[in-house]
């Protein structure tokens, strides 16, 4: 029952993130959704991934969004009211879509039993997998981080 409540909270946080008028609140909602996802991961014993999720997705990425919101011009109150009216027309269907889809999936899932191949032993530790079995993943991560750094340098370089 608690699991269902937390999952519902996660979906509700995502809906609030999308539907809220203020971009700042959207960024905060995203952090909230990440924090709830962290709780789910901890409950599934995925501790290392949960720590990454909490520190990076709930910490760093909202800061990035808040920075870009502050770098761009926010709306005035009058503009925000006007935009809110248009936004409501576009976003009123989202809770409806979620409720209908959730109900339909709930009914279908009563008959659907996923057959996943279950490993007999839990397998090696996550640190062993990262450092010994999937070293190419680490190499790829380092490469993509450097690619990102160079991309940001090129994007923000001063024009002469």
């Amino acid at each position: 029952m608690l699991e269902l409540f937390i999952l519902g909270l996660l979906v509700a946080a995502a809906i609030w993130t999308v539907m809220t008028r203020s971009l700042l609140r959207s960024a905060i909602g995203l952090a909230l959704a990440s924090a709830i996802l962290t709780i789910i991961m901890f409950r599934m014993d995925a501790n290392l991934a949960a720590v990454f999720e909490l520190s990076v997705c709930a910490g760093l990425i909202p800061v990035l969004f808040i920075s870009v919101i502050s770098l761009t011009h926010p709306w005035t109150f009058k503009e925000a009211i006007e935009i809110m009216k248009v936004r409501l027309a576009r976003f009123w269907g989202l809770p409806l879509v979620v409720v209908i889809l959730g109900t339909a999936l709930g009914l279908v899932s009563l008959k659907f039993k996923p057959q996943l191949p279950v490993a007999q032993t839990p397998g090696p530790d996550v640190r062993f997998i990262l450092w010994h079995l999937r070293q190419l993943d680490l190499l790829g991560q380092i490469t993509i981080i450097f690619t990102g750094v160079f991309a940001v340098i090129i994007l923000f370089r001063e024009r002469k």
């Binding site: 995502a14 999308v18 960024a27 995203l30 999720e53 996943l116 790829g140």
Partner: protein, 97 residues
């Protein structure tokens, strides 16, 4: 089972956000929500198949890639705002045609 339903609902919320909004920052937020759905799916599959350590390794890779993508995308959004003074995707017409 509820985890799979939550994954589909989260992904649907992200896609709806992508389709319904014109604000570039909100588009990135929609992509973030979709990535969260994928993260939850990977962890759930790892948990169900008794391969949680491997799933965690994949999730860590996904998170690293996600951060780099978001950093570059945010840089692009700031650049677009500097050039066009707007974040509305409908007003960005310089690459049209």
């Amino acid at each position: 089972m509820f985890n799979l339903i939550a994954v589909v609902l989260l992904f649907a919320v992200g896609i709806y956000c992508l389709l319904a909004t014109y604000n570039l920052i909100r588009v990135l937020i929609g992509i973030e929500i979709m990535i969260k759905a994928v993260t939850l799916l990977v962890i759930f599959c790892g948990y169900q198949t008794n391969n949680l350590a491997l799933a965690q390794a994949f999730v860590i890779t996904v998170i690293v890639i996600e951060v780099v993508i978001m950093t570059v995308a945010v840089g692009v959004v700031v650049g677009i705002h500097r050039h066009n003074n707007t974040l509305d995707a409908r007003n960005i017409r310089k690459l049209k045609g």
